[in-house]
Structure formats: C-alpha cells, structure tokens
C-alpha cells in the first residue's frame, strides 16, 4: 500500500511541477467563472456592465437557473470539457509514459519489489487523476456559479466527473499504448488525435446512414400503405363501380405494387457495416450524449429544441428514438471493452519489454 501511495504522491508532484497542469486548471476555473459574468435582464442578457437586447434570451422567457444550466450544458460540457480541455489534458498527460520509459528512469522503478503490471496500472490511473482533478474544479466552479447566480443548487452536475473521465479514458488508453510502443510523446498525441477524429467521422457517418435508412423505412411504409389503400379501394368498388372506374383503380393498384416491387434499401448494408465498425470503437460522442441525458434528467437541465419542418421533426424524433434505444450498457460496455483490449496490449508490451 505504501508503494501505491508513494506512486500517487509522486504523480501529484510530477503534475504539480508541470506548468501545463496549472495552466489548464486556471483556464478551466476561468471558463466556469466567466459564466458568472453573463446575466439575464428583462429585455435580453448582459456581459459585465453591457446590456444586449435579445428576443430569445431574456428573463421573461427563461429563468436564470435554466439559463446558466443551458450555458453549462452547451458550452461547458459540449465544448470545454469534451473538446478543449480534453485536448489540453492529452497534451499534458501524453508524456507521462514516454518520460517514465526513458532510459535510466524506468530502471529505477523496475528494480524495486513491485510488479510491472501494478506499476503500469498505477501510472495509468495517475494520468486519469489529472483529468478528474481538472473536471472536478470545473464542476465545482460551475456548481457555485449556477447556485449563486441562478439560485439553483444542483449536485447532479458532479455526475460529469466520472462520465467525462470515462470519456477521456477511451482516448488516454490509446495514447498510453502508442506512448509505450513508440516512447514518443509527439507520436502519442498526434496518433491519438487522429484516432479521435476517425472515431468522430465513423460516428457521424453512421448517424447519417441511420437517418437515410430510417427515411427509407418510412418511404417503404408509405408505399405499403398506398398498396393497401389501393387494394381496399378496388375491393370496395368491385361490386358497384362502373368498369372504367374499376380499371382506373386497378391501374393505380398496379402502379403502387410496381413502385413497391421496385423499392430497394440502399442504405441498410452500408449502415450495418458502419454500425459494426462503430461497435468495436469507443463511443466518444454517445458517451457525451449519455452525460447530457443524465444531466438533463438529474439536474433538471433544459432540453435542446429547435424549429423543424414536419418531415424534419419526424425524422429527428425517429433518429433520437433509435439513438436512445442504444442504452448505456452498449455505449459504455463496448467502449470499456475497447479500452480493456488496448490497455491489455499496452500492459503486455510494458511488462514483456527489456529496458
């Protein structure tokens, strides 16, 4: 136990010595504090002493609590924690393993009565602690801003800590693998960012294909409905209607049946392929959505809504339903499975290599 405590203390000292750690921490706190500079007025919103009239954001339309929660959700989570702070955290922590594995440094650790696996896992957890600390500071600052300015105390905001750490761990495990394999900080950062972009591209493509596929299903249902309607009309008219009317209905039915027969799913196969690829990759975007859903539910945050056409509304709703059907066991389970596989490979390289 004293060994683990010593390693954690050393990680703290290491982070403490890294200027980047303090820079990110200060920026995080400033970002959260900057939320407090924005205020709601009856006609719009204000930043410091300047008023900006707005028909969308004013005290008559939205309560201060909902306003600050909306900022936290859309800027704090969507942009700061899961994009900018993550990039900064990657840059800060990517050198942990390459530095550790440098000649003359790792010998000092490996020659102690501590197993290589334990050493590896402790170092890995230390890297995640960096991010946990950053997120905790940001959440605490946001909690205070929403509480003091919006008069709503929402401990549910702290749910962001484990979920964003989980999100970060998907990328960090790969960063560690590359760092262990190449012992290069630059390679670890660049390849991890490339992988992240790749995961995002796969996610975006899969969602787009899913939307097209849902649209096709909707079209198919519409064609089936037309065939059924034509059949019913023909059946109803067969006894009483004149033969010309029956011929018209017959031709309509035939036309509907031909259209139905000509219909083929074009997006089903590509979607399945992308879904398969996505299944084995970590779900970064879905994990963030999961966090948003949880925050909306637990911290009484406002739901995002935007005006759409009927068709757009229907499609968006169908897409949301489909995405919601992918529950947290699939999102987190497959992502953690990916992380476990990557970490196992990294641990094997670390444990079996000669230094």
């Amino acid at each position: 136990m004293s060994q683990t405590a010593a390693l954690f203390l050393d990680a703290y000292r290491d982070l403490n010595a890294r200027k980047m750690f303090w820079i990110v921490l200060i920026i995080s706190t400033l970002v959260a504090a900057s939320f407090a500079l924005v205020g709601l007025t009856p006609t719009g919103f204000s930043i410091l002493a300047y008023d900006f009239p707005s028909p969308l954001f004013n005290r008559r339309l939205i309560s201060p609590a909902a306003f600050y929660k909306l900022i936290f959700l859309n800027l704090g989570i969507d942009w700061w924690l899961t994009v900018f702070a993550t990039c900064l955290a990657l840059i800060s922590t990517a050198s942990l393993f390459p530095d550790f594995l440098a000649g003359g440094a790792v010998d000092l650790y490996l020659s102690k009565p501590i197993s290589r696996l334990r050493l590896f896992l402790t170092k890995y957890v230390c890297g995640l602690l960096f991010v946990a600390l950053q997120i905790a500071c940001f959440c605490l600052a946001s909690f205070l801003v929403i509480g003091l300015r919006g008069n709503a105390w929402e401990p549910g905001l702290f749910l962001a800590i484990p979920i964003v750490v989980l999100f970060y761990s998907y990328l960090y495990c790969l960063c560690v693998l590359i760092g262990v394999a190449t012992r290069s900080t630059v390679a670890a950062i660049l390849l991890t960012l490339l992988f992240w972009v790749g995961v995002f591209a796969v996610h975006t493509t899969e969602v787009a294909l899913l939307m097209f596929k849902l649209d096709e299903e909707r079209t198919l249902a519409s064609l089936d409905h037309k065939v059924a309607a034509a059949q019913a009309a023909l059946h109803q008219a067969s006894a009483t209607a004149p033969s010309t009317r029956q011929a018209t209905l017959q031709s309509r039915l035939q036309e509907a049946q031909e259209k139905r027969a000509d219909f083929h799913f074009k997006f089903d196969r590509p979607h399945r392929l992308f879904y398969l690829v996505k299944s084995v990759l970590p779900k970064t975007s879905e994990t963030v959505l999961l966090l948003q859903r949880q925050l909306i539910r637990r911290a009484d945050l406002p739901q995002e809504s935007s005006p759409r056409s009927d068709r757009g509304n229907h499609m968006a709703a169908a897409l949301q339903d489909e995405l919601r059907r992918r529950g947290w066991p699939w999102i987190v389970g497959t992502s953690v499975a990916f992380e476990c596989v990557v970490l196992t490979i990294a641990a094997m390289i670390f444990c079996w290599r000669d230094y």
């Binding site: 010595a17 003359g104 000092l108």
Partner: protein
C-alpha cells in the same frame, strides 16, 4: 534446488549459472544479438566484487538481468538465495543504474524517501534514513534542493544514497563514480569500504580499473558475453607474478646470455625481446634492460642473482612484480578464451 554454498559454507549472495541473453530485433525479430553466453559468476557475502569488461561485453545486460529490468533468455542460480527474477527479494537489493534519470521535480530528500517507499521501507525509517544517507554521501547542504539543480557528481552521490535507502544486503552499482571528481570518488570509496565492514556485499560494474583494484576483493572479467577470468586479484595474478631486474652492462645481451647459459640460445640477435625457459621450465624474458623471471619467492632467485653479477651485470634494482588489474584486463581482452 539445494542452495549452493561457498567454500566457507555460507550460501553465495550472487550465484549466477548459465545466464544467457539474446536480443532480437528487426522485422519478425529475426535479427539476433547474443549479449550473454552462459555466464557463471559467484559473489561471496561481505565482499566487494568488481565486474570488468570492454564496451559491449554484456556487463550492463547482466546487471539488468539481476535487477529484473531485462529478462534473460536462460538463467539459473540465485540472488540472496532466491531465484533470479524473484521480485520480493529486490527489497534487500540496492541498485544504482548507469545514466540514471531521477525525477527532476523532487528534492534530494524526497528522492531518497520516494524510492525507499517503493522498496517498502516504513515512513518513519525512510524519513530518518533519508537525511542520514544524504549526510553520509556529503549532500547535507543539498537536502531540500530540487535535483534538477544538481551536478553530475552530486547526482551520483545521491544515487548512491538512494541505492542504500532500504539498508540492502546487496548493493549493485553500475558505474558509480561516473562523472564524480577525485574527492567524490574517494568519498564513495570510503562509503563502500564502510559497507563492507558492516557485512554488506557490493557488486560494482565499472571501467575504472585502478579504482576497482583498490577496493575489490574479487573481480570477474567479461568479454563477448563470457566470463574469462574470475577470482581474487592474488588468484588471478599468481601465474603472471615474476621477479623483475633492471640491469646495465656494456653489452647486456651477451652478458645475460653468458649468465643464463642455454636459456636464450635459440633467441634472435640483440634488439627484439628474448623469451626462454630455465632448466626448471620457469619462463623468463629480457629486453635489453629489464629481465623478468617467473619466480615469486626471494630464495628462488638468489642463484640467478649471483650468476648475473658474476657475468658483470650491474643490478640497478630488483623486486617482485605483480601485474596490475589493467594488465590482466588487457590480456583477457586480447585472449578472450584465456
């Protein structure tokens, strides 16, 4: 496996048997470099043991195998009576690696305490020992200074303190005096001798032959992954010990040939060194000024001394001569199968 014991009946502190290491690299790991080829080496309790060898001989690989930093291709034997690679035993082993890189954000005191904690030393002991050890290596005034500000010599001193942090029974030092000034070297030597007096075993891997010669009880010379010589300095040099004469005469070559009839008969003319054997097959060598005879006892050279004087040679000086470790080393390198 029964413990293998030394002639004194005590188990060896380090007993390496058939240690081999092949490094593989390249595509499909097909390129092989054999760093160690069945190394056998024994170190007794309470001695200072020196490991010598030219660059690339496999010394650091051997030390790293002992410290579990490198995995051997094959290895038998024990360290502190436990199999090589037994992690818990490392608690009793202190190690100073070559070209070490201690975390620069720690102070000297924090470094010693941190690595002692990794060696499972309790908090109170490591706090007390941290200061004591840094004082021992002459770093009293630098306890709370970040080691990023230390010089190379100071880092070596602190590394020695770190290696001693857990009060180990065996201390393995890889180039401990690298970058240390003469004063620092003397201090380190004093620390090593003090450790020996305390019954600790010290294993040193170094290039500095003269330093090893002054502190080591036993040495081993490693060449191309094999131990070519191993033993105490007396054991290793006994075959090379001789009596040394510095002679002068008008014609020393003729005088020596006359003094030692039959010995240099087949030798070429004056100029090139002569080599020959006495009637009892003792070797002797003459180069025009210096005569070396493979005898070690004074009584054995009295007749030769008389013969030289009778032949008109002036004996400017004579004394028994033991080859230095450096001479042994270079001979071993030249003849790796010796």
């Amino acid at each position: 496996m029964p413990a293998i014991v030394s002639v004194t009946g005590e188990p060896y502190v380090v007993d390496l048997r058939d240690v081999s290491k092949i490094y593989r690299s390249g595509a499909l790991r097909r390129r092989r470099v054999q760093a160690l080829r069945g190394v056998n080496m024994q170190v007794h309790r309470g001695e200072i043991f020196g490991l010598l060898g030219p660059n690339g001989a496999g010394k650091t690989t051997l030390v790293k195998i002992m410290m579990t930093v490198v995995r051997p291709t094959a290895a038998a034997g024990t360290i502190l009576s436990r199999p090589i690679g037994h992690k818990p035993t490392l608690r009793r082993v202190g190690y100073l690696p070559e070209n070490h890189r201690f975390p620069k954000y720690l102070t000297g005191r924090q470094t010693v305490e941190f690595f002692s904690a990794l060696a499972k030393v309790d908090r109170r002991t490591r706090r007390r020992r941290g200061v004591e050890l840094l004082e021992t290596v002459g770093m009293r005034d630098w306890l709370d200074v970040k080691i990023g500000q230390y010089s190379k010599g100071m880092l070596q001193r602190m590394g020695l303190a770190v290696a001693m942090g857990a009060d180990p029974d065996l201390l393995i030092l890889d180039e401990p005096t690298d970058g240390v000034d003469p004063g620092g070297r003397r201090d380190i030597r004093d620390v090593l001798l003090r450790l020996r007096r305390q019954g600790k075993t010290v294993f040193i891997n170094s290039h500095l032959l003269s330093e090893l010669e002054t502190v080591c009880d036993r040495v081993a010379i490693l060449v191309q992954g094999r131990v070519v010589l191993q033993g105490t300095l007396d054991e290793l040099t006994i075959a090379k010990q001789c009596y040394f004469f510095e002679l002068s005469a008008v014609d020393p070559w003729s005088a020596v040939r006359a003094a030692l009839p039959g010995v240099f008969d087949s030798a070429p003319g004056p100029g090139a060194p002569w080599r020959g054997r006495l009637s009892d097959q003792t070797w002797c060598q003459f180069d025009g000024t210096f005569l070396r005879i493979g005898k070690t006892e004074p009584a054995d050279v009295q007749d030769i001394l008389d013969a030289l004087r009778r032949a008109g040679l002036v004996i400017r000086r004579m004394h028994p001569l033991r080859p230095s470790l450096e001479e042994l080393f270079f001979e071993a390198i030249k003849q790796p199968t010796a």
